[in-house]
Symmetry: D2
Subunit: 307 residues, 4 copies
Amino acid sequence: MPTILGQNQYGKAENRVVRITRDGDTHHIKDLNVSVALSGDMDDVHYSGSNANVLPTDTTKNTVFAFAKEHGIESAEQFGIHLARHFVTSQEPIKVARIRIQEYSWERIATSDNSSRFIGSDEVNHSFARKGQELRTTQITYDGEKWEIISGLKDLTVMNSTNSEFWGYVKDRYTTLKEAYDRILCTDVAAAWRYNWTSDDDRMPNWEKSYEQAKKHILQAFAETYSLSLQQTLYQMGSRVINSRSEIDEIRFSLPNNHHFLVDLEPFGLKNDNEVYFAADRPYGLIEATVLRDGVEPQIPVDMTNL
Amino acid sequence: MPTILGQNQYGKAENRVVRITRDGDTHHIKDLNVSVALSGDMDDVHYSGSNANVLPTDTTKNTVFAFAKEHGIESAEQFGIHLARHFVTSQEPIKVARIRIQEYSWERIATSDNSSRFIGSDEVNHSFARKGQELRTTQITYDGEKWEIISGLKDLTVMNSTNSEFWGYVKDRYTTLKEAYDRILCTDVAAAWRYNWTSDDDRMPNWEKSYEQAKKHILQAFAETYSLSLQQTLYQMGSRVINSRSEIDEIRFSLPNNHHFLVDLEPFGLKNDNEVYFAADRPYGLIEATVLRDGVEPQIPVDMTNL
Amino acid sequence: MPTILGQNQYGKAENRVVRITRDGDTHHIKDLNVSVALSGDMDDVHYSGSNANVLPTDTTKNTVFAFAKEHGIESAEQFGIHLARHFVTSQEPIKVARIRIQEYSWERIATSDNSSRFIGSDEVNHSFARKGQELRTTQITYDGEKWEIISGLKDLTVMNSTNSEFWGYVKDRYTTLKEAYDRILCTDVAAAWRYNWTSDDDRMPNWEKSYEQAKKHILQAFAETYSLSLQQTLYQMGSRVINSRSEIDEIRFSLPNNHHFLVDLEPFGLKNDNEVYFAADRPYGLIEATVLRDGVEPQIPVDMTNL
Amino acid sequence: MPTILGQNQYGKAENRVVRITRDGDTHHIKDLNVSVALSGDMDDVHYSGSNANVLPTDTTKNTVFAFAKEHGIESAEQFGIHLARHFVTSQEPIKVARIRIQEYSWERIATSDNSSRFIGSDEVNHSFARKGQELRTTQITYDGEKWEIISGLKDLTVMNSTNSEFWGYVKDRYTTLKEAYDRILCTDVAAAWRYNWTSDDDRMPNWEKSYEQAKKHILQAFAETYSLSLQQTLYQMGSRVINSRSEIDEIRFSLPNNHHFLVDLEPFGLKNDNEVYFAADRPYGLIEATVLRDGVEPQIPVDMTNL
C-alpha cells in the first residue's frame, strides 16, 4: 500500500450538558460543552471500514450525560478525568482519550427589594443569568498511565486606557508607524496553563480555586504592568501565574492587539487629547508566547489556544 | 417611468467609537457601535446618480467621532440625540435621522491584595474587563419635530431551573409533546422599550438610571414568576417594566425558548430526577410580544428586536 | 389592568428539514431552515398562562417534518403555503400564520474521469456539494383570505473592480473624503421582493424560475451599471427586476458598501495604480431602498432584510 | 529567574488584501486574508519591554500590501513565499517566519443576453460574484534554509444521500444507537496537505493546478466511496490525493459528522422511507486523521485544521 494511516482520533464533539444540583431550594448549575476524542487501534476502520474496534461516537455522547448523573460535575477538570479514565480503561482498543470542555458560568439573579409582593425571595435560588465574560476551558488527556491537564480561558477582553507605550523598535523600508508614548492597550485574553499533576498517586489540585486564582493573577498583572510592549505584559501575566501557583508549570497566551487608533480630529479644528478612539477590527497584532517554570519541558502546543 | 423609488435611507453603519474620560487618575470608558441612517430628498441619487443632496457616509462617520469629542458621551441615548439633531438641522435635504447604538459595558479590574509590590493600587483606575453579558441598544429617530427613543438590550441569557410548567395545550394530529410539570425555562432576552419623551420641551429621562432599572425589573420578573408558559413570563416582565417606570410606555420582547431536554437515562439503569439536561441549539420556540401602557398606540415594529 | 398585550406571535424557529427525493438512482435534495410564527386569540396565555388556545411550538415543528413527507418540497414558497394554510384553517384561535424559510442550495459533484476504477459513475447521482453562495429566503403570510409572499436572497457578495465613481456630494465641516473617479464597488446583496400573487383564485408564479430570473437580473444590473453611487446601482437592480418580472411588484435592498480602500504605497516608493486595496470590515456604508412598480402600495417593512 | 520564556511569535494577523490585475478590459482578482507570525531573538521584548529587535506588526502589515504591488499575487503560496523569505533574510533577529493565508474565490458574472441595451457585454469583465464555497488556505514556514508548505481548504460541505452504512461497532453499557444500513453522510471538509517541496533548489509545484486537483480528488473520492464509516471515507479521500499528486506527501482531515437523523413520522401515520431528515447542529461526530505517503515522517500538527 503506497499510503498509510497516521495520527487519528474520533469522538463526539460539543455535547452540551447542563447539570442541576438541588441543595434544598437552592439550586446549583454546571453548564458544559464536552468534546470527546479517542485514539488507539483504529487501523481497520480506516482501511476497510470495519467498526469492530469502534465505540460509536453516539455512545461517547451517552456516556457524557450518564456520567453527569453518576459522578456529578464537581469541576470541568474532575468531570473530564472521570470520562477519560472510563474510555481508556473500559475499551481495550482505546489507548488515549482526550476530553475538551468549555464551561459557561452563571450568576444568581438578585432578589427583588420587595419580592414578598411576588412569590417570596427564597424562591429565586433557582434563577440565574449567564455571566457572559470569559469561556473557561480545559483539556484532559490520559493514556492509561499519565495525566495531562491543560486548563485555561478565552475571550476575556481587557483594556488599559493608559500606561502603555510602544517605541524604540526596528525601522525598515516599510515602517511608517509613529512611536507612541501613551496608548490604549486592549486584548482578548486566551490562555492555557498546564498543571503538574500527572499521576493518580499525587494529590489533585483544587481545580475550582486554581482557576479563580489563575484568572485573578492574569487580570491583576495586566492591570498593574506599565507596558512597553504587549509581549512584556504577556510575560508578566504568565510569570505571575507560575510564581503564584505551584500547581501550574507552564502557561501559553494568544493575545490579539485590539488596536484603538486615536482619531485625527484636527481637520475639524478639534484636539484629541487621548479621548476619542476608533476600535479597529482587522488586521490586529497577534502576540503569542509560552512562559515556563525554569527547568520544565514545554508541552502546550503552539496552536493550543485555537481550541 | 414604470418603477418608482420607495422608502430609502443611507449612512455609515457600525462606527466603533471608544471615549475615554479622565477624572484625575480615574478613567471612565464609553464603548459604542454607532449606525447612522438618513433619509430625505434623495430621489436624484437613485434615479441619476447625482450626489448633490448626499452628505457622504464617510462624513457621517467623521461626525460620530468629532461629536464624541465635542459633546462627550453622557449616555448612548444622549449621544444619539446630538447626532440625529445635527443631521436633520444642518442639512436641508435630510428630513429624518435614525441613530442606532449598541453599547458594550466594562467593569474595573480589582486591585491586587498586595499591589504595592507592583506599581501601586492607585494605578489600576484605568484598567477594565469587558462585562460580556447583555448588549445595550438604543434607536433614536428624529424628524425635526418629534423624537422617538427605543432602547433595550439583547443576548441576556437567563435560566430558571424550576418553577416552570407547560401543559393544558391544544393537541392535534401532529402533537407528540408530553406535558411538563417541572421544566427548565431558559431564554436569551431581547427587549426594546419606547420612552414617552418625544419633545425638547419635556424633561428628559435619566437614560442611565432608566436602563439599569428596566434591566433589573426584567430580571426580577423572570426570576419571580412561577411560569405556566413563556408567554406568561414575557407578559410579567413587560408589565413590571411599564408599571415601575413611568417614562416607558411600550416594550417588546423576542424570547427564544432555549430548550433544555431532560436526558433519558433509563437505558443505562439511571434515574434522571431533573438533574441532567441536554441544551439544544435548533429548533427553538420563539415567543414575541409587545406589552403596552393601556391607552397608548404601539410603535415598536414587530421585527424591531432584530436590530 | 394598567398594561395590555399588543402584537404577539409564537412558533418554532429554525427547523432544519432536509428532503431527499429519489428518481431512480438520481437523488434530489431540498435543504430548508423553516420558522413558524402564529398569532391569533392568544390573550389568555399571556395574561394567565392558560395554554388552552396554544398549539405547542413542538407541534409546529412536527408539522414541518410531516408536511415534508405529505406534500414534498416543490419549492420553499409552495412548502410555506402548505404550512401557513394548515395552521390558519385547522386551528380556530390562529388567525395569521407567517412562515419564514431559508434555503441552502447544493450542486452535484462531478464524476471521476475514470470512475470505472472505483464504483461506477452512475453512483454519484446522490453526491452533492453545498454551493455556499447566497442564502435564498422567503416569507409567507396568510390570514385566511389573502397571501403575501416576500422572497429574496442574502449574502450574495458582488464586486465591480472599476466603472464606479463617487463625487459631487455635499461637503460640510466634517467632510474629509476625497472624490473618487475609479473605485471598487463591492456589496453583500440582501434583497426581498414581493409577489403580486395574493389569492388562491389567481395562477401562482413559477417560484423556482422566478427566483432564478430575479437573481440573474440583480447580478446583471450590478455588472452592467456604470455607477455614480451605490444608490444608483441599487435602483437599477430593483428597476430591472420589476420591469422584467411581471409577478413582482416591489423589491427592497439592503446593501452594505464593503469599502475597498486604495492603499497608499508612496511611503514605500511605489505607485498604486488601482491595483492594491485594503478590504475594510467596519464601519461600512449602508444603503437601503425600496423600488416599486408605479401605482402599487409598499408593503415590505423597512427592516425586512434583517430576517 | 524562576520563570523563563518558551516558544513565542508575533506579527499582524488577518491583513485583508485585494489585488486587481488589469489585462486590457479584463480584470483578475486575488482576495486574501494574510497573517504574519515571526519568531527569533525576542527575549528582551518579553523580559524588559525593549523593542530593539522588534519589527512592528504594523510594518509587517505594510509589507503585505507593498508586496502585493511589487510581486503581484500569482498564488497564495507564491505570495507567502515572497513574504516569509523577506522577513527572515532582511531582519537578523528574525529566524522563522510563518505566513498563513486564507483565499476567497470569485467567479465572473455572466453577461446579459441582450446587454447591448445596456453598456456593452465587454464591460462585464470587471464584475465578480464571490463563490462562497470552500475557503482555500495555506501556511508557509521558512527558517532561512528549508520551506514547509501546508495548503488546504475548509468549510467544503458535502453530502451523500445514500451509499453509507454504520454497523458492527462495539456495544457497551452506554450504547443505544441502532445500526444503519442506509444513512446520509454529510460533512464539512477541512483538509491540510503538505507539499514535499522544501528547497529553493527544487522545482516548485504549480500551486494553482495542484489545489484544483487536490480538491477534485477529495470531492470525487467522497462521492465514489461506498462508506461503512466516515473514517473509511476519510482514508479514501486522503489516499486518492497522495496517490494522484506526487507533490503531496501528507494530508490531514478534520471531518465533522453532520448528523441527519431520519425523522420518526409513525406517530402521524406516515412512513419515512429515507425521505425526511432533521439536520442536527450539536453534538456531532468528529473524525480526524492523517494519511501519509509510505515512508515519510508526519509533520502536520494534530490541530492544524483549526487555523
